[in-house]
């Protein structure tokens, strides 16, 4: 019986020592992750699932339109500390605004609590777009996120689709697809027609975010801005076959980087 007591005493002492060790570890600042939520609105009016194909919006050019699809790719969410240290996982997220798929996303890195400027890339920059072997998940995502080789390959940045009422009063489909701009010496595109590729992904700077033990960041997309600034978009002119339309892709880039995305609600808990 005495021996058992000794063993028990030894166990208690060991546990106590291990516990002390854990206490020492926890005194070091633990890194944390940050949760993102992507929300969507048209000129400030929230777009919910029920709005797709049912709610009419009016764009800056005065055209009435409905949305059927809004799917887009963001990549390289980066947190930059005041000392210049950058935190990123180099990962990506394909947001399907209509179905809600991937509207919540936690980048695959952790970082110390503190204040950071936050940015991400809309689409893939050329380095990611041309990654050797491509991306197995994106090749079949949303029906295939790839861009045909004659247009320069890589991946779509965004597919926004719907209907609009054209100048004749007829309902017509539109496909506002953003990809890397590709200029051809002749159209239709094919082998040997491609003259120039321009990286039309862009960096979105969201501003400063305080990161605490839990942090939730809302990223807002104002769809109306894709049609508004600085280029007032005329759907009667540019409603379809925009992927090989170099000038259209440049205008999409300008409109996209001029206020489509903004920082929404940030909830930080220490």
């Amino acid at each position: 019986m005495m021996k058992l007591k000794k063993i028990a005493l030894l166990l208690v002492a060991t546990i106590a020592l291990v516990s002390c060790n854990n206490d020492d570890d926890s005194s070091a600042p633990a890194n944390v992750t940050v949760d993102f939520t992507f929300t969507h609105n048209f000129g400030g009016t929230a777009i919910e699932n029920a709005d797709y194909e049912t709610t009419s919006y009016t764009n800056a050019n005065g055209e009435s339109l409905t949305l059927s699809k809004l799917v887009y790719l963001i990549s390289d969410i980066t947190f930059t500390a005041t000392d210049g240290t950058a935190y990123t996982a180099g990962d990506y997220n394909l947001v399907n605004a209509r179905t809600g798929s991937n509207i919540n996303f936690t980048p695959g890195f952790d970082l110390p609590k503190g204040d950071y400027t936050v940015s991400f890339t809309f689409g893939f920059n050329d380095e990611d777009n041309d990654a050797a072997g491509g991306y197995e998940d994106l090749n079949t995502a949303d029906g295939g996120w790839g861009v045909p080789d004659p247009l320069g390959g890589g991946y779509h940045y965004m597919r926004m689709e719907g209907t609009y009422v054209n100048s004749l009063g007829a309902t017509e489909n539109f496909q506002y697809h953003t990809i890397r701009a590709n200029r051809h010496n002749t159209l239709p595109p094919g082998p040997g027609t491609l003259d120039e590729l321009t990286d039309t992904s862009f960096t979105v700077n969201l501003g400063t975010v305080s990161v605490g033990s839990t942090t939730s960041v809302e990223v807002q997309m104002d769809v109306a801005e894709w049609f508004a600034n600085p280029n007032t978009w005329d759907l009667n002119t540019w409603f379809t076959v925009l992927m090989p339309n170099y000038e259209a892709q440049l205008d999409m880039n300008e409109n996209g980087s001029a206020g489509v995305f903004s920082l929404g609600t940030v909830i930080t808990e220490d």
């Binding site: 019986m1 058992l4 797709y52 194909e53 049912t54 059927s68 699809k69 072997g133 491509g134 197995e136 998940d137 090749n139 079949t140 949303d142 029906g143 295939g144 790839g146 045909p148 080789d149 004659p150 247009l151 689709e161 719907g162 209907t163 007829a170 309902t171 017509e172 489909n173 539109f174 496909q175 697809h177 159209l187 239709p188 595109p189 094919g190 082998p191 379809t240 076959v241 925009l242 992927m243 090989p244």
Partner: protein, 356 residues
């Protein structure tokens, strides 16, 4: 101290009894695992195939599934097998517009071809996507009054009374007691082995074949947003499934009578939506569309070129609907057809592993 020895004794006894019990049990039967081979042309492009954790592939399960697929025993009167409407020589489709059930009644949709099912990442089956998972899909045809018109209790008892099946189920699943769940699992295992990846275009992708100039131009038409624009729903060389496995209204009817996905989901925005079929093996899978209305590939191409009609749920990818479509030249249409036929895989329909 005496009390501790008593506890110790009880523990030892429990362990010993438990050990004896294990020894008395027959060894757990484990069927022979099979790894589904990933074709070279899929490697690096597609995610791994979807194999449910509760239904791994095994030699015995696949063999049983194949036997069931070709055996009319599952039908109500013992006259019709799955393979009667999913014929291997037609890439497991049916040359009839509508297959006939055991009572001679036609269905309302064309028999879907069966291949590369394990790469259906959406995991929705049937033209209208109402079955979530391949195993779930298999439950329907057996009891559909326009197909096998059986009941599952009757199918199970017929199989149970058979001279061979109880032993085959024992080998595949470790139990000779036959139920619908294991029937569906076995057939699903067989169906997942139906891999088609040896078309001329696959060999072209691997540097083993050349395309003709017409086929090359056909590929360009396929990939051109202003002409075919087939790739947004049917994939591209980086997606060698040649389907998105999702659902669209492709502008065939102004008035929608078959609700498709919407009939299952109840969402009016999905009325008339049907799954995009793969464009592999078109040489063997006519007639085309969910209702088999088009007898030839030319008719399908003409539909997208000139025949589109508007309805409320039409997919925005359908171009220039007000004028019927993209109005391709006859030359482009012919080349597009030539390219599409390079996606047919003769070795698939002649594979002895997939024949009775």
């Amino acid at each position: 101290m005496n009390k501790y020895w008593k506890y110790l004794g009880v523990c030892v006894l429990i362990i010993a009894l438990h050990a004896c019990k294990d020894t008395d049990d027959e060894p757990t039967y484990t069927p022979t695992p099979v790894t589904l081979g990933v074709p070279e042309v899929f490697q690096g492009k597609l995610l791994p195939p979807v194999i449910p954790e509760d239904n791994p592939l095994t030699e015995e399960g696949i063999a049983l599934g194949k036997k069931l697929f070709f055996d009319p025993i599952l039908s109500g009167n013992g006259t019709q097998a799955c393979a009667d409407c999913h014929r291997p020589e037609h890439a497991f489709s049916d040359p009839r517009q509508f297959s006939l059930g055991i009572n001679g009644n036609p269905g309302t949709r064309h028999s879907m071809p069966l291949f590369n099912i394990a790469w259906n990442f959406e995991n929705k089956f049937f033209w209208d996507g109402r079955a979530l998972g391949l195993e779930a899909q298999i439950f329907d045809p057996v009891v559909d009054p326009n197909e096998m018109a059986n009941t599952w209790p009757n199918a199970e008892s017929t199989l149970q009374a058979d001279a061979e099946y109880p032993e085959l189920f024992e080998q595949a699943f470790g139990t000779s007691r036959i139920d619908s769940v294991n029937v569906s699992k076995a057939i699903a295992q067989f169906l997942r082995t139906l891999v088609s990846a040896n078309s001329k275009f696959d060999r072209f992708q691997l540097g083993l074949a050349e395309l003709t100039p017409e086929e090359e131009n056909g590929l360009n038409v396929f990939l051109d947003e202003g002409r075919g624009d087939c790739f947004h729903c049917h994939g591209l060389p980086a997606n060698p499934l040649w389907t998105d496995n999702i659902f669209h209204n492709n502008g065939m009817d102004e008035i929608i009578t078959d609700l498709g996905l919407g009939g299952f989901s109840g969402d009016p925005r999905e009325f008339g939506h049907f799954k995009s079929p793969s464009l592999r093996n078109l040489a063997y899978t006519a007639p085309f569309m969910h209702d088999g209305r088009f007898a030839t590939i030319e008719e399908v191409i003409n539909h997208y070129s000139e025949g589109l009609v508007f309805s409320e749920t039409i997919d925005p990818l359908m171009k220039n609907v007000s004028t019927g479509g993209a109005h391709m030249t006859e030359s482009d249409k012919a080349d597009l057809k030539a390219f599409l036929l390079t996606l047919s895989d003769e070795s698939f329909i002649n594979n002895p592993d997939f024949r009775q």
